[in-house]
């Protein structure tokens, strides 16, 4: 039987030098996250182009989360679209920045020899992975946003997209952990600690999103009220007290 089509050529290998070539070069790190994790693992382990990785992962996170944020805010087009596009990168990058010291300190105590810069790069691969999934789901989220009249369904949809994004980012971190381990021959990230830390990230991210609410419905950029996201799950029975207590 005659061959109908020639097999696809193998993909061009990723070289991190490309990260220096403008915005497109920076964003090419996303393609590398999807297809060339071994190269990223090797570069992170050796520290090659680490500064470019840091910048590129940061830029990719910023651009894609801003895009998905705009989709979130399109339920109430106008100022809310701009607010949400500004707020979502703050939530994602802010969560990562808050959780980096915990990751570095406890991972080092558990025996990892990753430097602080390598740790930051690893955490930024997670944020870029989250941003990539958000960007992939953005057209679907947009479609439902413009064709749905009630807020409840959209909130559930966005929550599901974020859960998928974090799960995939966790999986990516797991595979990078193994690649780093193979490249350096030493412990890179403690497996059990990584799972606990991802739970911490999910908790901090949820609280951060709560602090910056609303994203979908109309509202101010910052409400300025202090409260915990747990209150949304279980409304507090007690009224705020005027007196005080201390420990």
């Amino acid at each position: 039987m005659a061959q109908i089509a020639a097999p696809l050529p193998p993909p061009e290998p990723f070289d991190s030098d490309v990260l220096r070539r403008g915005l497109a070069g920076r964003l090419s790190v996303v393609g590398a996250l999807l297809r060339f994790r071994a190269v990223i693992g090797q570069d992170l382990a050796s520290g090659r182009n680490l500064g470019d990785y840091l910048t590129s992962l940061f830029v990719a996170t910023l651009v894609f989360t801003a895009g998905y944020g705009a989709v979130l805010g399109m339920f109430e087009p106008g100022l809310q679209t701009v607010f949400a596009a500004l707020k979502l990168p703050v939530v994602v990058l802010g969560t990562a920045l808050l959780c980096i010291p915990t990751f570095y300190v406890f991972n080092s105590i558990l025996g990892s020899t990753l430097s602080f810069r390598q740790t930051v790069a690893l955490v930024f691969t997670m944020t870029a992975a989250v941003a990539t999934i958000l960007a992939a789901f953005a057209p679907i989220a947009w479609f439902f946003t413009v064709s749905t009249g009630t807020e409840g369904f959209l909130v559930a949809l966005h929550a599901a997209v974020f859960a998928i994004a974090l799960a995939w980012a966790g999986r990516l971190l797991g595979s990078l952990r193994e690649l780093l381990q193979a490249a350096t021959g030493t412990a890179s990230v403690h497996r059990g600690f990584l799972a606990l830390w991802l739970l911490l990230v999910a908790a901090v991210g949820t609280q951060m999103a709560w602090n910056f609410r609303p994203f979908v419905s109309e509202g101010p950029f910052l409400t300025g009220t202090r409260s915990l996201c747990l209150e949304a799950l279980r409304p507090l029975a007690s009224e705020p007290e005027r007196g005080g207590y201390e420990d």
Binding site: L98, P101, W210, S227, L228, G243, G244
Partner: protein
């Protein structure tokens, strides 16, 4: 320039402490790290109230660690004297304290964020915050005990040191309270007059008596 904590590849004093490369470390360096990291955690706790309380808690937390170590050091050394000279006792205890403080410092950004998110003057969220702080201190303490156990290589000696340090530390924490000042009427550094009424163990006994009655 390689630090005095460095063994093998050059790394900063904090990284060397976290990785346990402290064989040539000066106790003063370790204690300096403890001061910096515990001050960061103290500031995170104080951020719930804000204002001067951030500074007060940032000063009190290193005081807590250093004064507790200073007061209990004699007993720690006597217990370990058959195994360790005084210099090694100081290094091992300073390393455990510094690692505890470093672990707390690592948690500080998250704790500060939670503190700043908690509703003010609300009993439920205040209790939640106290729970977060207690859990943080427990995690930091576990890290310190783990390192101490690795250094001393004796479960009995480790347990004795932890018991002595905690016995003193509980009263020191009592003396330096408030840690989470929720009165919002005035910032308070160390209301010594109030804190000298009773002590930590008497208050625990009081709580137990109330539960029994």
């Amino acid at each position: 320039m390689p630090s005095d904590l460095t063994i093998g590849a050059p790394r900063g004093p904090l990284a060397a402490l976290l990785l346990g490369d402290t064989a040539g470390a000066r106790p003063a360096t370790l204690l300096l790290l403890a001061v910096g990291c515990s001050a960061a955690f103290g500031a995170a706790i104080g951020s719930y109230t804000g204002g001067m309380q951030v500074l007060y808690a940032a000063v009190k937390m290193p005081l807590y660690f250093l004064l507790t170590l200073g007061i209990s050091f004699g007993a720690l050394h006597v217990v370990a004297a058959s195994r360790l000279p005084a210099g090694e006792t100081l290094r091992a205890s300073a390393e455990a304290v510094a690692l505890t403080a470093a672990a707390l410092g690592g948690l500080a950004p998250v704790v500060a964020f939670v503190s700043l998110s908690c509703r003010r003057a609300d009993q439920e969220t205040y209790r939640f915050l106290v729970l977060v702080l207690t859990a943080s201190v427990a995690v930091g303490g576990l890290a310190g005990v783990w390192r101490l156990h690795a250094r001393l290589a004796s479960p009995l000696l480790t347990a004795a040191w932890v018991a002595l340090y905690q016995f003193t530390g509980a009263q020191m924490a009592w003396l330096l309270k408030p840690w989470v000042n929720c009165t919002f009427t005035s910032d308070r550094f160390i209301p010594l007059q109030d804190n000298l009424n009773g002590n930590f163990y008497e208050s625990i006994a009081g709580v137990l008596r109330n539960l029994a009655s």
